[in-house]
Amino acid sequence: MKNAKSVLAFAMAAAMAVTATGCGASGSSSAAGSTGTAEAASTEASTTASSSALNVMLETPVQSLDPQVATDGTSFEVIADFTDGLMQMDADGAAVPACAESYEVSEDGKTYTFHIRDDATWSNGDPVTANDFVFGWQRAVDPATASEYSYMLSDIGQVVNAADIIAGTKDVSELGVTAVDDKTLQVQLNVPVSYFLSLMYFPTFYPVNQEFYESCADTFGTSPETVLSNGAFTLTSYEPAATAFTLEKNESYYDADKVQLSGLNYQVIQDSQQALMSYQTGALDITLVNGEQVDQVKDDPSFDSRGAGYLWYISPNMGSVPELANENLRLAMTFALDRESICSDVLKDGSTATFTAVPPQFATGPDGSDFSADQTKYSDVCAYDPDKALSYYEAAKQELGVDTFEFDMVVDSDDAPQKVAQVVKEQLETTLPGMTINLVIEPKKQRVEDMQNGNFELGLTRWGPDYADPMTYLSMWTTGNSNNYGLWSNADYDAIIESCSTGDLCTDPEGRWSAMYDAEKIVLDEAVIFPLYTQCNAEMINPNVTGIEFHPVALNRVYKNAVKAG
């Protein structure tokens, strides 16, 4: 995170600043947008229409090109290449109008009215209409689609009736979204949602052309012929789970003048050493680098790392492991973890040590500052301090009446988690004599199932933000939440979260903000989780390429403004 490129101007500010103009946020982050906007802007002036296409490396194949079905970052990135939502992200991550020309928010904050641009068209020539959005959103909550991200409309978006439709008790036509006319879309919310506009660039909220969708039957999104584009690029070659596919510039895009690339060539490479060699031969313009290869690239100016948004943490099972229900033991463990060393010596990909329950650099508050910029604010309960760890450890031994502890830790079978887990094991065992950690390596699906069923003692897990608000993390630890793996329960905490998400504080941004700090403090005071690090992606980017926008939320890479020189 050297350049702190991904400091985000949070869309909430836009919602705060709701005035007649739609785009209030772009000013709040002028200092932070180092590469993104500045370079993109400078090249807009240059008249050389670059004809070259950008060669992009992907780590995993696309899982789905259906915006309401896709759930992974790779699919989102590609879908966003050829589809525009109502809003799109600007270089700083703020929501800016895209398909929507302008919008209004009602006094009570519960009704949003979007006006769709007249020149927005699908690649088959149809205009983009409000009905396309209604159809897309209805698909997202339709139990027949069984969209895994339907909760973006219900729990998070709070769209009227979304929860009931998902549960099957109401018909999709009752969803609180209506096409007033072809170009006007009206959305009804249960409660004011401060970050609602920032949801609009999330692919689950993208439009789908109903007529086209129905003409594709079951094959929607499986080939260039079965997708429609209304974005900067169009798909030219693709097959499901392809290892290579291409897009080219969409000439009928309303913003086509600003698109400099002639196209995008995606190449899936799952072996990072091959990827780096391909980059070196010039076959790739942008590629991910593994921590082990950093020695090869660290002196190269085109090497950089960017926030990927994921917070990795250890979740102790307090519900069914009596020893871990002991707060002193948990505190001893969190003090025994040397997070800086994990990041700088083992991961080496630029990941940053994290001492807060909400990772830094994705959520910006009413005053424009990063929610977790200050990583030392909980240093009395979460830091690396072997002496403190030992004194808590002694206290825990006294209280529990035992001298040795043995815990199993479930870990994904992927490369990075295995590495981290081995260091965590070593650190806990060396700092806390008498403690033994056994690593249980499992495929991710299995690990998640074990943790959801409470069938674990310690779990190394991660969480990526769904939207640019601390609540995407904090809501996890409420009583009964399915991601509250540790089965922790605290009435005060639940009350704060309730009040911040659907209660009084919804309309009081500053009060909500400080209440969320209170909630985070409870989590760390009681060591409900042991935060470890915020994941970063180490990347190599061809020095001739500028203007790629990187974000830790929703759309990791956006190429609309990218330029590849000569």
């Binding site: 980059y279 082990e292 090869q296 085109s302 010596d345 083992v346 390596i441």
Partner: protein, 366 residues
């Protein structure tokens, strides 16, 4: 081949030099070639026909072959190193020293020759760079004989630690092959007909399902560890051997010596294991040799589903898997486990060749 054939030609066509010369156009034989050597003293000790046990014969024939003896010595050395190697320096297989990670090999005394002095050349994207991390970090008295890995663990210690696990797996695989696979194949091939049909269909069902599917299911009932690995191998590794054994049995069972034995009233069990088995020992041993590396790598593959040797423990297979990630950055790291693996396999093969010849009853006449 020429010698072997000639050895037998000698007996039949002793009297006819011309006929022998016709059979072997690339050599010219003279009458002298067929005369008895003046070695009356030697031939009095007739090892071939002296009344001694089969196993003594085998032993003598085995030790006569130099390459087999070399292989045997290497196996003993590797086994000893697997036991003693990890305790030959102060490092442990799991002990991490993150400040000393990715150090190149450095060996006392030899370092003065300019090799193994801890310097390495890294091919970076901006050109090659030669560094000596020991000097840069001021680690004067630190020696990693095979270098250190990404966690600052000693590769020497881990290689021998891994060799130990892999040797256990190798032995287990060989036993499984011999006991389950071979018996299954021999019995199936010998009885033929309905028995064969049923046994082969069962084998097809067992082998027609990808092994990763079967192994994933083992997660339900077993904890990761050596025993689990052996059990997983037991479920999947016997098939290849049983097919070889069956094919050999099909080839041999119609031959006269089997018929003769049956006529003499020998039971099926006797014919299978005492008559046929010694005659097919060659391909059987070759198959055992091949099941060993397969087993060693299957073990590493099992870690995909969480059944491999649990980290930070290691085997040669898992070490190669792990160090593969540094292949282009620090190539020296992957060499020790691969070298041990190749040496081990070479030794196994040489021993196997020796054993094959020593055990083959047809060789007795030589």
């Amino acid at each position: 081949m020429a010698q072997a054939a000639a050895a037998r030609v000698k007996i039949d066509t002793l009297h006819d030099v011309a006929a022998v010369n016709a059979a072997f156009p690339d050599h010219t034989f003279t009458e002298k070639d067929f005369q008895l050597k003046a070695n009356a003293d030697d031939i009095q000790i007739d090892t071939n026909f002296a009344s001694q046990s089969f196993w003594k014969d085998v032993r003598i024939r085995f030790f006569r072959k130099k390459s087999a003896v070399f292989g045997l010595i290497m196996i003993v050395v590797i086994t000893l190193m697997a036991i003693l190697g990890p305790s030959m320096n102060e490092y442990t297989y799991s002990g991490q020293e993150l400040s000393q990670k990715n150090l190149a090999p450095r060996i006392p005394v030899i370092e003065d020759l300019g090799i193994f002095d801890g310097s390495e050349t890294i091919a970076t994207t901006t050109g090659t760079r030669t560094t000596n991390q020991y000097e840069e970090k001021g680690l004067d008295d630190v020696y990693y004989w095979f270098g250190s890995d990404n966690f600052g663990r000693d590769i020497w210690t881990r290689t021998w630690e891994g060799a130990r696990v892999s040797l256990i797996i190798a032995v287990a695989a060989a036993v499984i092959d011999m006991v389950i696979g071979m018996s299954y194949g021999l019995i199936s091939g010998y009885f033929g007909g309905k028995v064969d049909m049923l046994m082969q269909r069962f084998l097809e069902i067992a082998n027609g399902i990808p092994r990763l599917v079967i192994c994933t299911l083992l997660l339900l009932v077993l904890q990761p560890g050596i025993l689990t690995i052996v059990f997983a191998l037991m479920l999947t590794e016997w098939v290849g051997m049983s097919r070889i054994a069956r094919a050999e049995m099909l080839k041999l069972k119609a031959q006269e010596f089997v018929l003769a034995s049956r006529t003499l009233g020998a039971g099926s069990f006797f014919i299978i294991f005492r008559e046929v088995l010694p005659n097919i020992i060659g391909p059987i041993i070759t198959q055992v040799m091949f099941s060993i590396p397969t087993a060693i790598f299957t073990e590493a593959f099992l870690s995909f589903v969480g059944l491999g040797i649990p980290v930070p423990q290691c085997s040669l297979g898992s070490l190669i898997n792990e160090l593969y990630n540094s292949f282009t950055t620090h190539p020296y790291q992957i060499i020790p486990p691969i070298a041990v693996m190749v040496l081990l396999m070479l030794s196994f093969n040489l021993v196997a060749d020796g054993l094959r010849e020593a055990l083959d009853p047809k060789m007795k006449s030589m």
